[in-house]
């Protein structure tokens, strides 16, 4: 079995597992499983459809009060093509998350993952520190994980390898790279 065939089988199994969980009412875990599918196969249409459908179906049932308003705000931001702000909003929500919020977070992550992939293009590209990017580095407000990724940028290692060896969640790693690129710290070259 080739790597591609093995991955396809894994994706198929995960899609099925997600559906089974969804069928038993465990929507939050179903979203996590479909999220795994998107890690393996970014942009998998089936997983995205399930997630959108599940989100739509579960929406009216239980979220109430502040949670409802939070979700509505997040959806508005998503429809306004600002998934990043929507995710920030949900991440800053106080207290434990309801499964609707968890589901929304997964949906936003899937949406953003696609966005990052499109923005970064071929992951064989090599990230480099931008000329002058280091000058005022310490005045910026970066999280330690970004500092860690930055420390691995050597101008030789392709982005795909960098993400692999970082051991970071793939979504977080790409998000971090996109942010540093937008901030003028990193650039990508073929």
């Amino acid at each position: 079995m080739t790597v591609n065939a093995s991955r396809a089988a894994q994706v198929s199994d995960l899609l099925q597992k997600g559906l089974e969980l969804y069928g038993t009412g465990d929507v939050a875990r179903a979203f996590l499983i479909w999220g795994e599918v998107l890690e393996l196969d970014p942009g998998n249409a089936e997983a995205l459809d399930y997630m959108r459908d599940a989100d739509r179906r579960t929406r009216p049932r239980s979220a109430e009060g502040p949670a409802r308003s939070l979700l509505d705000d997040a959806r508005r931001l998503l429809h306004g093509e600002n998934a990043e702000a929507a995710l920030e909003l949900l991440a800053s929500a106080p207290g434990g998350r309801s499964f609707e919020v968890e589901a929304m977070v997964e949906l936003l992550r899937a949406h953003l993952y696609e966005q990052y992939r499109a923005e970064l293009g071929d992951l064989a590209a090599v990230p480099r520190l931008k000329a002058g990017g280091k000058a005022d580095l310490q005045t910026r407000n970066l999280p330690p994980s970004a500092g860690f990724l930055l420390s691995m940028v050597d101008g030789l290692t392709p982005l795909s390898d960098l993400v692999s060896v970082s051991g970071m969640d793939r979504f977080e790693a790409l998000r971090s790279v996109c942010r540093m690129r937008a901030a003028g710290i990193l650039e990508l070259s073929a």
């Binding site: 080739t2 790597v3 970066l142 420390s151 692999s164 793939r170």
Partner: protein, 523 residues
């Protein structure tokens, strides 16, 4: 005819060299590095990583990153060295079906020759990229104290990597070769080898083209990484004092500290002061925290001085073992990247009362010597003669648990010796021959290389049958044994293989698996 490469398969780093325009030359990898970490890992997304990439996840994904597997190769699982590795290594070491240590990472169990084979394959690839031709043959170096099993497993690793190993040579011998010391007259040479993870000291005697290892000593768990750890510990303590934040549990921070410590240590071999700047190493309610620290050479020397002194105790012991006065040493050769450190050079100079040889990079010298040996093997007209010696005595276990030496240590190889044995019981029809290597008179205290049974001995009173056992050690230090009943002429011949050695079928299977993996990657 394709070229033969010389490979220094190190505990911490490996290096490959070839003869170009008559000169041994180290081959850099695509990143421009002349050495490659002897590390193999599997990333969290299942990707196989070798060399620098594997090193980058050594702390953040420690359970799935193998380093220093050379300490395990050719040993039995119960060997104290293996047990010590189990205590110290973050990756899982399990008992294999051949009683050998196996390394379990990424849900798969790897043999030690397989791990070494993956590193060798990487070195082969580096050479092929540089030379733009296929490489099929190599000379590989091993520590002088490696026994038969360790040498055989190294040869197996070469096979797994797709290389025919033309010769296995001792590392100190290779270092001496790189300096052309085989061309000088009779001399005694000290090879001080402080690498990333091991320290070896060897006293060699050069005489008429024969390089004899008079004694070898050292510490298989001491090297440059211990110095890095001291620096990391110092930085962590300083950062905690100055910021109140403890980085000990933060693997990302520790990975950065380890990389920075290694770099600072190397830079301090050339400069008196280095700045260690690690932005965004941590964060708290006040925002991001940066580590900015100035490390001086004096600081470093006070942090690690005792480690350097410890190596000199081994040097003293080695001189005693070799029966050589320090003043009798004619030349001192430094090997291993850690010997670039000024403190090491100063203390070695003071100890021997003479300056060590310079001119060849200490982390490249062994690979260069291997390339010189490779050229000597190819050139039938070479006027260079190189003969190594067997590092350990070879013999068999006899009645009462004793060890009968047949080939004494330091005998020039290749060598062949025979000995006649007899039976210990009346009408004994078979004898079991246990082949051992070591220096103890007690059989059990030596390494068991293998055992075989000579059957069909004619019935006779004890002591009457005569069984001649012949031992051969080839130029690689690899042992083969044959036994013959002198009255019946019945003969058995085997290449001695320790219980930990892989069978041909296992080697073939590993090669197929690796080929399949490469095909999958391309698919």
């Amino acid at each position: 005819m394709s070229r033969v490469i010389g490979i220094d398969l190190g505990t911490t780093n490996s290096c490959v060299a070839v003869i170009e325009n008559g000169q041994p030359t180290v081959i850099p990898n695509a990143g421009g590095y002349k050495t490659t970490p002897s590390m193999f890992g599997i990333s969290q997304d299942g990707k196989r990583l070798v060399g620098h990439l594997a090193k980058r996840q050594a702390i953040t994904n420690a359970r799935n990153t193998v380093f220093a597997s050379k300490r395990l190769i050719g040993r039995r699982f119960d060997d104290p060295e293996v047990q010590k590795s189990i205590d110290l290594c973050p990756f899982e070491i399990v008992r294999g079906p051949n009683d050998d240590p196996r390394i379990k990472i990424g849900g798969k169990s790897f043999t030690c020759p397989e791990i070494a084979g993956i590193v060798l394959r990487e070195m082969k690839r580096v050479a092929e990229e540089y030379l733009s031709e296929t490489v099929q043959e190599a000379v590989i170096t091993v520590p002088a104290y490696f026994n038969d099993a360790q040498r055989q497993c190294t040869k197996d690793a070469g096979k797994i990597a797709g290389l025919e190993v033309l010769r296995i040579i001792n590392e100190p011998t290779a270092a001496a070769l790189a300096y052309g010391m085989n061309r000088v007259g009779d001399e005694k040479i000290a090879v001080y080898d402080l690498g990333g993870g091991t320290f070896d000291i060897s006293i060699l005697e050069m005489s008429d083209g024969v390089i004899e290892v008079l004694a070898t000593s050292g510490n298989t768990f001491l090297g440059g990484e211990d110095l890095d750890r001291r620096i990391v510990q110092h930085l962590v303590e300083w950062f905690q004092e100055s910021s109140g934040l403890d980085l000990r549990g933060d693997t990302m921070a520790l990975q950065r500290l380890k990389d920075a410590a290694e770099k600072a240590k190397c830079d301090l071999s050339l400069r008196d002061t280095v700045e260690i700047n690690l932005p965004f190493i941590a964060s708290d309610a006040e925002g991001p925290r940066h580590l900015n620290y100035e490390l001086t050479r004096d600081n470093l020397e006070s942090l690690v001085g005792d480690i350097v002194e410890g190596t000199l105790k081994s040097v003293e012991q080695c001189c005693v073992d070799a029966g050589v006065q320090v003043s009798e040493i004619d030349q001192v050769v430094l090997v291993g990247g850690q010997t670039r450190m000024p403190l090491v050079q100063k203390r070695v100079t003071e100890f021997f009362g003479k300056r060590p040889h310079k001119g060849v990079n200490p982390d490249e010298v062994v690979a260069l010597g291997a390339a010189v040996q490779a050229a000597m093997l190819l050139d039938a007209d070479s006027d260079m003669l190189l003969l190594d010696v067997t590092p350990l005595s070879l013999g068999i276990g006899t009645f009462g648990g004793h060890f009968a030496r047949l080939i004494e240590r330091n005998t020039t190889v290749p060598v062949s010796k025979g000995h006649v044995f007899t039976t210990t019981r009346d009408d004994q029809s078979a004898v079991k021959i246990r082949v051992l290597q070591g220096e103890s008179d007690i059989a059990a205290e030596n390494d068991l290389l293998g055992e075989f049974v000579l059957s069909g001995i004619r019935p006779a009173p004890k002591g009457e049958p005569e069984i001649e056992v012949s031992f051969d050690i080839d130029a690689n230090g690899i042992v083969s044994v044959s036994a013959r009943d002198l009255s019946t002429g019945k003969e058995q011949s085997i290449t001695v293989s320790s219980t930990g050695k892989l069978s041909e079928a296992e080697i073939d299977q590993i090669i197929q698996e690796h080929d399949l993996y490469e095909v999958q990657l391309k698919g």
